[in-house]
């Protein structure tokens, strides 16, 4: 069984174990150093990329508006995308959940007798645990993004949606290569490490039966799939193998081609502080008559997996504005300290906290939504202005209370509801609205302060227990007023 840096067994990482996972991560100085360094770097890069505040405001206003407009027409745009892709020769498939998506990809693979799939970076493929499911059928999935490749070699999982191997330093990467690759000489030279990855993967691109990728923007108007990357592995996966399968969440569709340039600029600057990435790949069809390369078949798999639940009301729908830049995690004080694995979900950090409840239900994710100080940094840097802190509060409410009238229950509605807590709150509400009872209560607290236990469960884990004062605020003010009168 493989282990992550923080010593928690990867297979056991799950949002239900968030507290233990976070504790383990906090106690790992190497992990914390790796994340601190990476987050400082990425924050700095973003700041430089948005050096003009007026320009930043403009592009974020526009990006938010574009995403909201496209979501407001989502069902129509999905149908338009399907029609235009189909006319272009791209085969469109719909999957309600991970199981259906894997079945679609398995069927395509088996029809081609595929033994290997070479993959570009796709968080949606992580979401459906594609590699694991294909392995069961004897189909090898190979990650080709450098970070994903390193993580896969180690049996590890990505800890960041943009920089998957961010939790490892170069020593740890060299160790991973040494453990898993023949004839590798350990080195701390990053160029050499990258060249090792390049040379080991080159033959795989050459041989692979199928290439699989994610999608950054799917353009309804033209039936075009846009992919953002720096390495060229995305181009390799979508160009060299005879079959290309693209998989994406249903929310990634945009209405017009002209929606793409501002979103692309907002994405790359927010993610890595780059004005533009090395490659922007726009795919509109499989190989056409007479063309000499490119896949003969292109498939698009549209995945729901809980997204339609987030779509149900206008407030929650904002979750789907996300363009997956990762800026919210880069600026999150919680993520920076515990890293990506501790969340136990495919999408970590602030965006993970608000999207995972729709994918996995509130039963499993109820601890994640409370793991925030609501400091607001995530909302402040979000290029499409998702109000993440408000969304967290909304989800906390949904986890504690029944749905609002006329609203269907969320998956895992009331998962965090507690009779004792609810009773205590009702009691407090009664006391707070009945002055005599309230004063009786505070008076007894001052009299019985010696009885206050020093151990108050989680509260006193990192705090001292509160000590009631010997006089209540009411008593003090009363005394002062009497003093003034006399």
């Amino acid at each position: 069984m493989s282990q992550s840096n923080n010593g928690v067994h990867i297979q056991e990482l799950a949002p239900e174990h968030f507290h233990d996972q976070a504790k383990a991560a906090l106690a790992d100085p190497q992990l914390r150093q790796n994340f601190r360094g990476a987050m400082d770097y990425l924050q700095d890069k973003r700041k430089t990329a948005f050096s003009n505040p007026a320009e930043e405001k403009h592009i974020r206003d526009l990006s938010e508006a574009i995403r909201q407009r496209c979501l407001s027409k989502l069902p129509d745009l999905l149908e338009q995308l399907e029609t235009n892709c189909t006319n272009n020769g791209i085969q469109v498939h719909w999957a309600q959940n991970a199981e259906e998506a894997n079945a679609i990809i398995a069927a395509i693979s088996q029809r081609h007798n595929a033994k290997s799939i070479v993959k570009g970076k796709s968080m949606v493929s992580e979401e459906i645990e594609l590699n694991h499911e294909m392995a069961k059928l004897g189909i090898e999935c190979l990650e080709s993004d450098m970070g994903e490749y390193i993580v896969q070699l180690d049996g590890d999982k990505p800890s960041h949606i943009i920089m998957p191997a961010i939790h490892k330093n170069k020593q740890e990467v060299s160790d991973t290569f040494e453990k898993n690759l023949d004839n590798f000489t350990p080195t701390l030279d990053v160029d050499e490490l990258i060249q090792t990855g390049r040379s080991r993967l080159r033959q795989k691109f050459h041989d692979a039966d199928i290439g699989l990728s994610g999608v950054n923007f799917a353009v309804a108007e033209t039936g075009t799939l846009c992919l953002v990357e720096n390495e060229g592995n995305g181009r390799m996966c979508t160009t060299v193998p005879n079959v290309h399968i693209a998989i994406t969440g249903i929310e990634k569709v945009v209405e017009f081609l002209t929606d793409v340039p501002p979103l692309y600029s907002a994405l790359t600057r927010s993610a890595t502080g780059q004005a533009i990435t090395t490659y922007f790949n726009m795919i509109s069809s499989p190989r056409r008559d007479g063309e000499l390369d490119g896949p003969e078949e292109v498939h698009l798999v549209l995945l729901d997996n809980g997204r339609s639940q987030a779509f149900r009301d206008e407030e929650m729908r904002k979750t789907l504005q996300c363009i997956r830049c990762g800026a919210c995690m880069n600026h999150c004080p919680v993520y920076t300290r515990i890293g990506g694995h501790a969340y136990g979900t495919v999408y970590p950090g602030p965006i993970g906290k608000i999207i995972s409840p729709h994918m996995m239900g509130l039963e499993k994710t109820k601890d994640l939504i409370t793991a925030s100080s609501l400091c607001g940094a995530c909302g402040e840097v979000c290029p499409v202005r998702i109000p993440i802190p408000e969304m967290l509060q909304r989800l906390r409410n949904e986890a504690k209370n029944p749905p609002k009238p006329d609203m269907p229950a969320m998956r895992g509605q009331e998962a965090a509801a507690s009779k004792a807590e609810s009773l205590a709150m009702k009691g407090f509400a009664f006391a707070a609205s009945h002055p005599s009872i309230y004063h009786m209560g505070t008076w007894s607290a001052t009299k019985m302060k010696a009885l206050m236990p020093s151990n108050l469960g989680p509260w006193t884990q990192c705090r001292t227990a509160p000590k009631p004062a010997s006089k209540t605020l009411h008593q003090l003010i009363k005394a002062r007023k009497q003093g003034e009168k006399s």
Partner: protein, 221 residues
């Protein structure tokens, strides 16, 4: 999977979202009417992304290509079958006798060339459809005469671009050329050689695409 399709679409339609109108926010990316400024921004952007840029005119193009091939000690060059400067490329590569250059013309299905393209070719030469000054970007529009892998698989990509095709920004380019009416199989924007910062945020070039990008800027205005 039409059941899944209908189930997803009906869940979305049940939400009954109110369609939002086209936004009125105006956002202006970098723009200039000054040809000199535009040229300079294009060069600066590409240089910052680690591309080599060589400026030349049509007459000297032949020599420029020869010099690149000789100085980089390339021995096998892949090229397409047509394009405005195709004859210059052919002339340049054929005129090199010592050392002799082997050219591989991409004129048949990739399955027949795949191994050579992956293992033997040092550089692929292509034309560009346009350039974007804002970000220092080449716009490739691969087609029958210059297939997609020509600019991708060899370790060096030599790109020919006419100065007159450089526009201010990406949005302007797709609007003026009405891309939405005739999207080809593939368009690629290229801004530098392949790179990654996946290991400890350290930038390294030559991840999976070309490790070198040489841009020949043909001064045609």
């Amino acid at each position: 999977m039409s059941t899944s399709r209908n189930a997803i679409l009906s869940r979305l339609r049940d939400a009954n979202p109110e369609a939002k109108a086209m936004e009125t926010i105006t956002y202006q990316p970098w723009v200039s009417n000054d040809a000199q400024l535009t040229r300079q921004r294009f060069i600066d952007g590409l240089s910052a992304s680690h591309a080599e840029i060589i400026s030349t005119d049509r007459d000297a193009l032949n020599n420029v290509i020869k010099n690149i091939v000789v100085s980089k000690q390339f021995s096998r060059i892949a090229l397409g079958t047509a394009g405005e400067f195709h004859s210059d490329i052919v002339k340049a590569t054929q005129s090199l006798e010592t050392p002799a250059i082997e050219t591989m013309t991409f004129d048949c299905d990739i399955s027949d060339l795949k191994s050579a393209l992956f293992n033997d070719v040092d550089a692929g030469i292509t034309h560009c459809r346009a350039g974007i000054a804002d970000t220092g970007t080449l716009v490739l529009w691969p087609d029958i005469s210059e297939p997609r892998t020509l600019s991708l698989v060899p370790p060096c990509h030599i790109a020919l671009i006419k100065r007159s095709t450089i526009v201010s920004n990406f949005a302007e380019l797709m609007v003026t050329q009405t891309w939405q009416n005739n999207m080809p199989t593939n368009i690629v924007l290229v801004s530098g050689p392949s790179k990654t910062a996946d290991i400890q945020q350290t930038l390294a070039y030559g991840a999976h695409g070309p490790s070198q990008l040489v841009v020949i800027l043909i001064e045609d205005m």
